[in-house]
């Protein structure tokens, strides 16, 4: 029996990411409790919740950077395989953007982007470079193509990280607090890129506390607390009339800062 918590929010495509009865422990700590979640093609879902509530773990479980104890996670109808070639292939279809950028420090910006297409997608080097330049242009860092990550600002690095994920032509993009390591003046340049992506119809799961982004770009907001999905709603309803006490309490804290 699958749970349909979200009210209909427009007509999305097929269910792309489906989590069913997912459980996860870290030792004694129960970090994911009976998680049911469906992300449809073209949907932008924002995940919000207090520190330690399991948002990152949820995100990382979707491309199996974190294994789960029980339940199932399917991607475009396919169950996540065990560690190995099949899993690698499946991960190529899921873009991931980390809080700490995680660019490859010994490679130039251009090489950061082309590594995946060349080694995983077997695109020839010349084509991969052309495609990479188009992507770098789109995220506004093409002038830095020959530099190394350490020579770029945080905002630029994060935009490169987004381009690196996009270069794999993923079916879905996961963002784990992509702006929380950035200085305030750089947050918007990253959010603008993400908003653009959302407008173009990219399927996205975004862990963030940026309510402006959630209101502007998200179709649904999922509120997590202590490993549970407490509430799922459209952004406007969630931010103006949170249903649960826990969400109300949490929102009152982040709005005042």
């Amino acid at each position: 029996m699958s749970e349909e918590t979200a009210p209909s929010q427009g007509d999305f495509g097929r269910p792309l990411v489906v989590l069913d009865r997912v459980e996860k422990h870290f030792g004694d700590l129960h970090v994911l409790k009976n998680i049911h979640l469906t992300v449809h093609a073209g949907e932008v879902m924002v995940v919000i919740g207090p520190s330690g509530s399991g948002k990152s773990t949820l995100c990382r479980a979707i491309n199996r950077l974190e294994t789960i104890d029980s339940g199932s996670i399917t991607l475009d109808g396919q169950e996540l395989p065990e560690e190995g070639k099949d899993l690698a292939r499946l991960r190529a279809d899921v873009g991931m953007v980390f809080q700490s950028f995680n660019l490859f420090a010994h490679k130039t910006i251009l090489e950061n982007i082309t590594l995946g297409p060349i080694k995983v997608r077997k695109v020839n080097a010349k084509q991969a470079e052309q495609d990479a330049m188009v992507l770098l242009d789109r995220v506004g860092v093409s002038a830095q193509a020959e530099k190394y990550p350490a020579q770029l600002s945080g905002g630029q690095q994060q935009r490169v990280a987004i381009a690196r994920a996009l270069a794999m032509k993923p079916k879905v993009m996961l963002f784990d607090e992509p702006t929380s390591a950035l200085d305030p003046e750089m947050i918007n340049e990253v959010l603008d890129v993400m908003t653009g992506l959302a407008k173009e119809g990219m399927t996205m799961v975004v862990v963030t506390h940026e309510m402006g982004f959630a209101r502007r770009a998200a179709n649904s907001v999922v509120f997590m607390d202590a490993g549970e999905i407490v509430e799922e709603n459209d952004p406007e309803s969630f931010f103006t009339h949170p249903e649960s006490d826990r969400a109300r309490d949490f929102l009152s804290k982040i709005i005042t800062h």
Binding site: F98, F104, K119, M168
Partner: protein, 216 residues
């Protein structure tokens, strides 16, 4: 220094033999050490376990014990080969455990986030190591690897004492025991020979360290 000048040819051939042993052992221990290091950080638990066991056993055995094991233990279970082959194999196996640990220190110095990012774009484990982790790990590993390799060059003298003929150290035995030269000048000659291997190696490692540091 007559001992050296009169037997210069013997010293020279000993030097070349030792250099050859060192180069073969260098390549062998780097290759095997890298593979064991990959085992030790692999996502597959039995491989990790195998790597750890290998390092623990090999690293804690004295080199001479390993040499005896190879030279006398292996023939007993039916494996035949020359002293030369057994000697070099023992030296490679012994050194590879230290190479593995020096590399692993380098691997641990690369942020785990980069490995995750590589996995997240779909790079399989071996490609992640080859493309992302090892190139950066190697830079951090150059200084400890240097110490390991220089120790290995010196350890190669044990092979001579052990009976692998023709190398620099066995020259000293030939000259002092068989031909009756005084020990001191002969040993000084031998020591200079080893210095002629380790000093250039040390200079090359220092160069490598400077070279790789700039790219950081």
């Amino acid at each position: 220094m007559d001992a050296v000048t009169e037997n210069f040819d013997l010293f020279l051939s000993g030097y070349w033999t030792s250099l050859k042993i060192c180069l073969i052992a260098l390549i062998g221990s780097l290759v095997i050490g890298t593979i064991i290091a990959a085992f030790r950080v692999s996502p597959v638990a039995p491989l990790r376990w195998a790597g750890t066991t290998y390092v623990t056993m090999v690293r804690n055995a004295p080199l001479t014990v390993l040499l005896f094991f190879f030279a006398f233990g292996l023939p007993e279970i039916g494996i035949r080969g020359s002293y030369w082959l057994f000697g070099i194999s023992a030296l490679i196996i012994y050194t590879s455990a230290f190479v593995c640990e020096a590399l692993r220190a380098g691997i641990n110095s690369v942020s785990s986030g980069q490995a995750e990012a590589a996995r997240a774009i779909g790079l399989p484990f071996v490609a992640t190591l080859r493309e992302v982790i090892l190139p950066q790990a190697f830079r951090t590993s150059v200084p400890p690897l240097g110490s390991v390799l220089i120790a290995m060059f010196k350890n190669s003298a044990v092979l001579g004492a052990f009976g692998v003929g023709g190398d620099l150290f066995s020259v000293s035995e030939t000259l002092t025991s068989a031909r009756g030269y005084a020990a001191t000048p002969v040993l000084v000659g031998v020591a200079v020979g080893y210095l002629l291997i380790t000093l250039p190696a040390g200079a090359f490692l220092a160069f490598l360290e400077r070279k790789t540091a700039i790219l950081r």
